[in-house]
Subunit: 223 residues, 2 copies
Amino acid sequence: MISFIGGTGPEGKGLALRFAIAGERVFIGSRDAERGLAAATEVQELLPAGLPKDYIRGGANEEAANTGYAQLGDAVFIAVPYAAHKDTLKALTESLKNKVIVDVVVPLAFEKGRASATIVEAGSAAEEAAQILPNSKIVSAFHNISAADLMVPDRSLDCDVIVCSDDDSAKTRIMGLAEMILGVRAVNGGGLANSRYVEDLTALLLNINRTYKAHSSIRITGI
Amino acid sequence: MISFIGGTGPEGKGLALRFAIAGERVFIGSRDAERGLAAATEVQELLPAGLPKDYIRGGANEEAANTGYAQLGDAVFIAVPYAAHKDTLKALTESLKNKVIVDVVVPLAFEKGRASATIVEAGSAAEEAAQILPNSKIVSAFHNISAADLMVPDRSLDCDVIVCSDDDSAKTRIMGLAEMILGVRAVNGGGLANSRYVEDLTALLLNINRTYKAHSSIRITGI
């Protein structure tokens, strides 16, 4: 079971869709349970014919945090806007204990259409999550993937997902999950201290998107 | 004419070699003129047979800064260690006036073999150069290219060079230069404010190199 805290944005919905296509059960959470349900219905409509719609459910963030079993390696994705990152995690600390937490949050600011990375005291959003959730297994991944491309079920992504974590077992689990997405290769990005480079790179890619009118992503070459 | 301030390290020598192969005249400068000369001789030895060795010269940084003509679009590369970045540029401000300056410097620190990006007050090494050299045309590029691969004359690089500058004409000139290197595609990285993301990414790639025992680089996909 893969659940999403704040999964109603394009990246949360896109990842939920791809994981459901790969055979995972997903749960899309939101601050507002109605919006979580609506997002689940929207993703169900995008599922290729023949795939079971009841693999995709939605509701409140609290339910998303409590869904799944830590001992089965079930993962909870954090996909809220950075402005809500700290408070959301603090409110759910108990439910997220011992679980694999995948932080996809990018601390970004926009000025006149130009993206820039926001400075985070902990070093990165993922390291901030590790401070707030010392008893969870924090994994940082999926920052540079195109949400728009994820939402088109048969589109190959042609990108690498760089995965950082200080927990090797959790990292391996999420690298495997990333490779379930058509076209994606998972790259071991080392420890959580490297997450800032991957998070910040998103600002560059968004600015490149603007120049090239494209959905850019990256591949690591030479490995 | 392409000249290098502090060009005796692997990246300076590697770029000098590739530009010489592409038909450019290069000058490798060093704080110590003897070391600049020695680096030039070393690069001459790597030139494929039949190419003119006298296209590669070497000497002092001051000569490198004064070599070439701003009005011909000649470019001066800054390839010193970050620790010497500010002082080197301050000492050469007058010679570098009006010229295209390509800053390839990455502010890095190492601890127990792990690389991390050093915080630069100006935001990035390239923006620091722009503050010190307000009358030069600063371009930031070549941070993520493998120096080891550059030194093997016939090896294709399989990477993108992301080029950032606030001067469109200088940026175009350097994007053209980057594409002279076998396998390289130049990507317009926008203004100099984006340079920090490209510089910092180098720390991630060095850490990935350690994990994968490789010379990693990047490609931007989807553009």
